[in-house]
Symmetry: C3
Subunit: 300 residues, 3 copies
């Protein structure tokens, strides 16, 4: 990899991406998990935002490689004692970890920290900017079902404005030659999003036509209050993915979601739980393998 950090999908060449996807598939075989060669490696998960799945996924990935993994959540951190963000990172860096995995609700924090520390930094989600490992695991999920990503029609549906997952997926899918479209209510559409190389649809039925993959985004409850969306019920009626709306897509179109899902808001249980169409749990499974591959790539 040209960079020792993973801050943005933009840091990765196509060769880097293919490398990570190939390595990750290797880790799906249980025999390739625990490697004692990583027993002298230390990983610190520095999470300033609550998280179940991403934190657990990185923790498992590190431990399955045999590394020592330390979790630091903001609740127990010295930030409360008035230490600055950068001082916290430099203090942890002084303890000689191999990787610092950072999640923060402000865009740019992992980049800022990567300039200060000498270990590798992985962006585990920063504000509404990027979540590169989510995009990588999404790409692996698609690849395992559709073989080639190039040429696929992928629709990203929902709250694109606040979604770091959307941004990382747009970058990655474009790099790999997919055609990406955005389907979103006007209030949740970022300005000039077309400049990132996506086609915008403000009509859901039209937007789903001829689509191979529908990526449904998580809708934050705190946005269901008038400014962005009138109500949960209204949002589900017009933008929530149910069987009927999904029928506008290709017959074998598959459904993805970064989780955790809000049943009855952005996705109907009937679709989310359809094992023939929904890849949601497979995304979780592949997430651990992708993170193992990335960690191995960065610290070997």
């Amino acid at each position: 990899m040209k960079s020792k950090h993973l801050l943005s999908i933009k840091d990765l060449s196509i060769a880097d991406i293919n490398n990570i996807l190939t390595k990750a598939e290797k880790f799906l075989d249980k025999k390739n998990k625990k490697k004692n060669s990583f027993s002298d490696k230390n990983i610190i998960n520095l999470f300033f935002e609550d998280s179940t799945r991403t934190l657990t996924s990185f923790e498992l990935a590190g431990k399955q490689l045999g590394a020592s993994v330390i979790n630091m959540s903001i609740a127990t951190s010295s930030i409360k004692k008035g230490e600055t963000l950068i001082d916290t990172a430099m203090t942890l860096n002084a303890m000689d970890p191999d990787i610092l995995i950072v999640r923060h609700n402000m865009s740019g924090v992992p980049y800022l920290l990567s300039e200060k520390v000498n270990c590798s930094v992985i962006n585990a989600g920063d504000g509404s900017n990027e979540h590169p490992t989510q995009a990588l695991l999404d790409a692996l999920t698609i690849k395992r079902h559709k073989k080639n990503i190039a040429g696929l029609e992928v629709a990203i549906l929902g709250d694109v404005l606040h979604s770091r997952v959307a941004r990382s997926n747009i970058y990655l899918l474009n790099k790999l030659g997919a055609k990406v479209r955005i389907i979103s209510p006007p209030t949740l559409l970022p300005p000039k999003i077309e400049d990132l190389g996506v086609k915008v649809f403000k009509n859901l039925e039209e937007g789903l036509k001829n689509v191979d993959i529908v990526m449904v985004l998580r809708m934050q409850k705190e946005r269901m209050s008038g400014t962005f969306v009138p109500s949960e019920k209204e949002f589900f009626k017009f933008w929530g993915l149910d069987r009927k709306k999904l029928n506008n897509a290709k017959k074998n179109a598959l459904v993805m979601h970064p989780g955790p899902i809000n049943r009855g808001i952005e996705i109907d249980s009937d679709v989310a739980d359809d094992i023939g169409r929904s890849l949601i749990l497979e995304q979780v499974k592949l997430g651990v393998a992708i993170r193992m591959a990335l960690i191995e790539q960065l610290i070997k």
Copy 2:
């Protein structure tokens, strides 16, 4: 074992129980602890209730077997983000753990989750239903002091109504041939408890007569408010185990408690700290060994 889960003592045959007790004794020897053969195994502790001793005991048991152990407490979980209990479990299951160890304040949650996931589930305490590993460690503690459990007179004393420990112990001690009696104030006695094969005593002195083991139950402070019990002082006077009351039991009767103890409420310090009579700390010690044996049994 006939089941790949441990949800209830009822899942276990007498052979299963003896197997676990025998294995656990082997682990009391330090040389038999850390086994690298489990280094590719992953255990997730999914605790929806605060816990010191049970969580730490399971964590230590898993780590001493060389497995990777991940703790998830409700505070950091996506439940707060509106994800359902089952979605949380299925997400964790998708990460391919070998065992999910579940504690929840509602009866039946471990059973519900075991129907949805494909890893093993261990019930680490569900509501006022069961706490099977506590009963197993209690059985091992008794066995090490009294040799045979069959034929022993065991009294369970206190708040039986809310006690998952009582329920699991009643099932297990009955299976192993002990004679179980319940000593409890009428307000804390579950209806039809006799149907589980116990003898009920509403008089403490009488109930303790000829008893080999007194298992004192923990009294929840929140029940000391009139409905169940008039006051802490009143409860201690009539139902708290002190030296004088204990003198009603056999001369060599031993005292147990699942912990944490409330000194001066359900048990007097004089009895709790009597190293000739109290097995409380030994129960803790044997708890780690029992959990190691159970984990080994489920994932080997």
Copy 3:
């Protein structure tokens, strides 16, 4: 070591100290980290106070030695259920850990617990009493820069009254033959501190004259309210270490701080970030090595 605990610097002979410092330097070489010989050892971090750096440092130290490390913070502990401090410690002790590492906001708690348990106890900071591993890592930091500690002039600057770091450093530096002075506003000076073998300066410029090392202490925000110190601004003006004040010391004087630092209160960023003068991040780095050495010493 003559004691199986480390509760106070007073427990250590000069030979013990030199032993730990020498071992710690060995661990600075990455090759000497992970040792599988400790894979059957268990360490419990029992922290009743929030901490980033000390907890992480001990956790990393234990894991790099290959031991199983379990963190218990008060938030998840049974203390909330009414269990006494000593019962908590004895319960953990019954699980057979090799070391209990204790931090508490009351002076004397580690000592109290060491009398009750049979594992080793390390004091990770107790009230305003002691923080012996901080003093050891400070000594190693000084030794690596000044070769000999004997004969050095070391000034400890700031809130000595509430500082466990100051107390442990006074004991240790005196043992190793340094000349220790205290520079402190009268309101933050403990009575009879001269009895510990230090020279007291109430004037900062005078106190820094001819000094080799300035140890700046952390100023707790909650003391900036009139009783101890009129205001943050006032404190910084008279007692905060900036470049101009530092010029009173020897030309090659070095600056230390136990962290986390309060920029613009007890130390100016210009000094804290001066890589030619500030040893703050090196202290953090050496802290992990010191704790590895101490753990190895106690449980080998």
